[in-house]
Symmetry: C2
Subunit: 215 residues, 2 copies
DNA sequence: GTCTATATTTCGATAGAC
DNA sequence: GTCTATCGAAATATAGAC
């Protein structure tokens, strides 16, 4: 009886752990390879080698290359949405937009590969996540535009077109991930230091916040 | 004699025209396919079909897929450098940076595919144009930073880090090309109208110029 | 759940007639 | 300079033993 209990309690748990661990391993390797080579340039062999698994195992956990790619893109999108929470609960543009810039810059620093995969997906016409653009992203965007508009109406910032302001926020922050290689090349080939990242954040925040008349 | 003269005068000219015309045809098709599918996802067959030529002819004009791709990237880079001229000969930041934003936005509108190919190339580590980043782009960047610094020193604008300001200019303007699909999706699926492009330009210029204390 | 071997497809590149 | 046919390499995906 105890043995049976152990089997039914531990064995499935162990199997679930193996599955979760291998899936995570594969997803992290896939994110890096997709970011560096693009969807078309990425190969299941490269991902398998980076994950330290036989190629066939990838197809055991993810039926196709596209299914694995879709999962990677979804993961990134979720990180973005979570970080956007700091946009709400803000008293005004200095807090809200300032915190949003900080959060987006931090994502660019911590998840540059994810940002690149997202950028590549959108640049190629969003064949896999078009539905997210039309639903979740659209709703989120409309909501933030409304928030910004209330700040404008109450005189807390200049009457800047909220939609284009959002695009500027996305563009300036993601640029440090998507064009990180170019930035590093212009930085004598090395990654930005902690101090340089602070300088980047402060520069973006200073220009944007003063630019909307809230700095 | 006249016949010989005709042959030596017209035949090479005609051949040169055919070559130039076909090369241009192939390059335009390649730009579009590389932008939509990435280097890895693009196929010579797709480019050939779009150009209306047999696939073998592409290899007649461009020895390899990579050579054709390199040519496309070089074309874009040249357009960029030419447009950057308006940055010079400016009396101050309002003229210089304002004109630069206008020019870069116009490129995003007229050459969105080229911008995407460039972005994709840089995102994947610039395997083909790394030398351009280290020489031409670096020199250009250093020069503009010096110009901006003189504007700061003479009190014509706020003391914003010139390098990060340049990154913001690149990011905000190219965003309208690289993420054009996302922008169109959020614009009810259609391209921006003339009025919307004006609004975009003015929004970017307003925030940036006021953000640097020159608006 | 793992892994070797292989089937199947696709793509870059070329040969060779016209 | 053009174009059909094809080679050879490489990639996705699967079969089947363990």
């Amino acid at each position: 009886m105890p043995r049976t209990a152990q089997i039914t309690r531990l064995k499935p748990g162990k199997r679930t752990d193996i599955r979760r661990e291998n899936e995570s391993l594969i997803r992290r390797a896939a994110e890096k390879v997709f970011a560096e080579a693009g969807f078309g340039g990425a190969t299941m062999q490269l991902i398998a080698d980076l994950a330290g698994l036989p190629k066939a195992n990838l197809h055991y956990y993810f039926p196709t290359k596209e299914a694995l790619y879709r999962r990677v893109v979804q993961d990134i999108f979720e990180i973005w949405l979570n970080a956007a929470a700091c946009f709400d609960n803000a008293k005004g543009p200095v807090d809200g937009i300032g915190a949003y810039i900080d959060a987006k810059m931090e994502i660019s620093r911590r998840h540059p590969d994810g940002s690149k995969v997202w950028a590549s997906e959108v640049m190629h016409g969003a064949p896999v996540i078009q539905d997210y653009l039309e639903t979740t992203l659209r709703d989120w965007t409309d909501g933030r535009i409304a928030v910004i508009q209330t700040w404008i109406d109450s005189g807390k910032m200049a009457p800047v077109n909220p939609r284009h302001l959002l695009y500027m926020l996305w563009a300036t922050t993601q640029h440090y991930a998507d064009f990180g290689h170019q930035i590093e090349t212009l930085n004598d080939g090395g990654p930005l230091t902690d101090q340089q990242w602070r300088e980047a954040k402060e520069s973006v925040k200073a220009v944007i916040l003063r630019g909307i008349g809230a700095g």
